[in-house]
Amino acid sequence: MNFWIIQGLNGLAFGSLLFILASGFSLIFGLMRIVNLSHGAYFMLGAYVGLSAIEAGANFWVAILLGGIAICVLGTLIERFVLRRLNGQPLAQVLVTLGIAFIIADACVWIWTGDPRPVPMPAELTGAFRVAQLAFPIYRLFVIGVAFALAAALWFLLERSRLGAMIRAGVDDLAMARAMGIRTSLLFSAVFCLGSALAGAGGVLAGPILSVYPGLDTDMLPLALVVVILGGVGSLLGAFVGSLIIGFIYSYGQALFPDLAYVILFLPMVLVLTLRPTGLFGRQAI
């Protein structure tokens, strides 16, 4: 019983990290039709920036902020000066983001070497939370809390704010939204900036759990893709539920059948693509 609870919490924590990554990816894809293959690289670069900030003496919270801001700036620059030039050419945009992902990944090996580096945990969140015989790291509970708070904030932003209404309009029908006088160009920048910042900050947040290592980007990116395929395009709820499903599958899979953890990832994809190609909560096919 304890095993199931502990692994369930681990799955929840991993799913939370995935959600932070995948929500931005899904929003960007849903609104701008850009498959941002650099998203995994943003996550990794954010973690490295945070690590360097901590090693330079900053505290953990400042590191998260710095990681988020650095990647947000990078993402905004790429969106403004590269992706925008390729407006209306989705395939060209995908190839560019793939190229940028390779450049970032290799530059990270160059700067931070190839060794895995754990990001130190903030002192106030070390230790374990104990109930009866169960002990669970406080930091993971904190990550779960952050993801749920983020989900709530994003839900509020999308469903209850003016900006969110414009984003939803853009996701549903971009041409019509533009015709109604929504400045979609600004909207695109805002969403890309938000998605990048989430990826960067999420990387720092993931650092104490996953460590930072070359290949973190290509480990996380396909999982984010699977989350979006499962949950549906541009759907916040889909990204949330998809992340938790993958988090649980991955966590239980690694504990029960360590060899087959990746094989099991095929199952939800096969099921969803066969039975419901729009994804669980998507309104349009991807």
């Binding site: 395939l91 450049i103 953890a261």
Partner: protein, 333 residues
């Protein structure tokens, strides 16, 4: 001017050069590079079937190379199968995998197709990397010996080169026949006008699926030859970078042409070998080439260069004509 006779002479010269290569370059190192190029060209040809003729941009084509190579080595060196049965199992199972992956990927089109192929490919990479008891994990699988088909000694570099060159010729012939066949023609129809093709009563899904499986089959052949060449396979063969390199070969040579991918494969393999001799930053260069091609030569490297030269000539002659159709960036989403 280019006349049909002139073209024939060019082809014959090219063929003669390919056949005479082991005599022209005596160094084993260069003959081996030529073999690498030929194997990469077969993989690029199969990907070009999807991208160039089907308009389906796959970012998971390394899957067929890697799975076929893993199976060939596992079956012959670790499961006790003979060379022929091992090869048949590798190609048969990989083609069966292409049937499943084709079914899943073609639930979507355009960007969705790309995302699904990428995700499926990376999951395979994860399996090869993590299922260490079966695949050897990061250390990969080795222990394979090159076969001796019909008494040919494939351990000899020149003979191996001719062996793979034969398969490249076979692939080119089959793919050329496929493109001209009814199925190949209707595939190009679904690339350009999927809705019209559907309205005309064609089963677009089936056409795309059959082509996907055909491409997977040739990917499997390339994987088998890859296994013979290296006698070793590691998760790198399944990684996204391998898929991206293959994609670069197709784009560099010009999508939708029969021989483009062969030229692209030669360019990429030579560049990779030359660069790796001097610096260790191949990945940065690969990324930079992608960015540069998309920004400055959306038609592909060779057609892009041709268009630039053409434009230069026009500038010199003061004659203005617009040329060049963007091949990769043409909106097929």
């Amino acid at each position: 001017m280019r006349t049909p006779t002139f073209n024939w002479v060019l082809w014959l010269l090219g063929l003669a050069a390919l056949l005479a290569l082991p005599w022209l370059v005596t160094s084993e190192y260069y003959i081996n590079i030529a073999s690498q190029i030929v194997i990469a060209a077969i993989l690029a040809l199969s990907l070009n079937l999807l991208i160039g003729f089907g308009g389906m941009i796959s970012l998971g084509h390394a899957a067929y190379l890697g799975v076929s190579a893993y199976l060939a080595i596992y079956m012959t060196a670790h499961a006790g199968f003979g060379q022929l049965s091992g090869a048949l199992i590798a190609i048969g199972s990989t083609t069966a995998l292409a049937m499943l992956f084709g079914y899943l990927s073609l639930r979507a089109s355009g960007l969705g197709f790309l995302m699904i192929t990428l995700a499926l490919g990376q999951i395979l990479w994860g399996i090869a990397y993590r299922w260490a008891s079966l695949t050897g994990g990061d250390n990969g699988l080795g222990g394979m010996k090159r076969p001796h088909p019909f008494g040919l000694d494939l351990t000899h570099p020149a003979i191996f080169y001719y062996f793979v060159l034969f398969f490249l010729g076979l692939a080119l012939w089959c793919i050329a026949r496929f493109i001209q066949s009814g199925l190949g023609q209707s595939l190009q129809g679904t690339r350009d006008q999927p809705r019209r093709m559907r309205a005309l009563g064609y089963n677009v899904w089936l056409i795309q699926w059959l082509s996907f499986v055909f491409a997977g089959f040739w990917g499997a052949v390339a994987g088998l030859l890859y296994a013979y060449y290296h006698q070793f396979v590691s998760p790198q063969a399944l990684h996204l970078t391998t898929s991206a390199e293959t994609l670069l070969m197709v784009i560099a040579g010009g999508t939708g042409t029969l021989f483009g991918p062969v030229v692209g494969a030669a360019l990429v393999v030579i560049l990779k070998n030359v660069v790796s001799a001097y610096i260790t930053r191949w990945l940065i260069l690969l990324g930079a080439i992608f960015v540069a091609i998309v920004l400055f030569m959306p038609e592909g490297l060779l057609p892009g260069l041709a268009a630039w030269i053409h434009r230069l000539k026009e500038c010199l002659h003061g004659d203005k004509k617009t040329t060049g159709v963007s091949a990769i960036t043409k909106d097929r989403v």
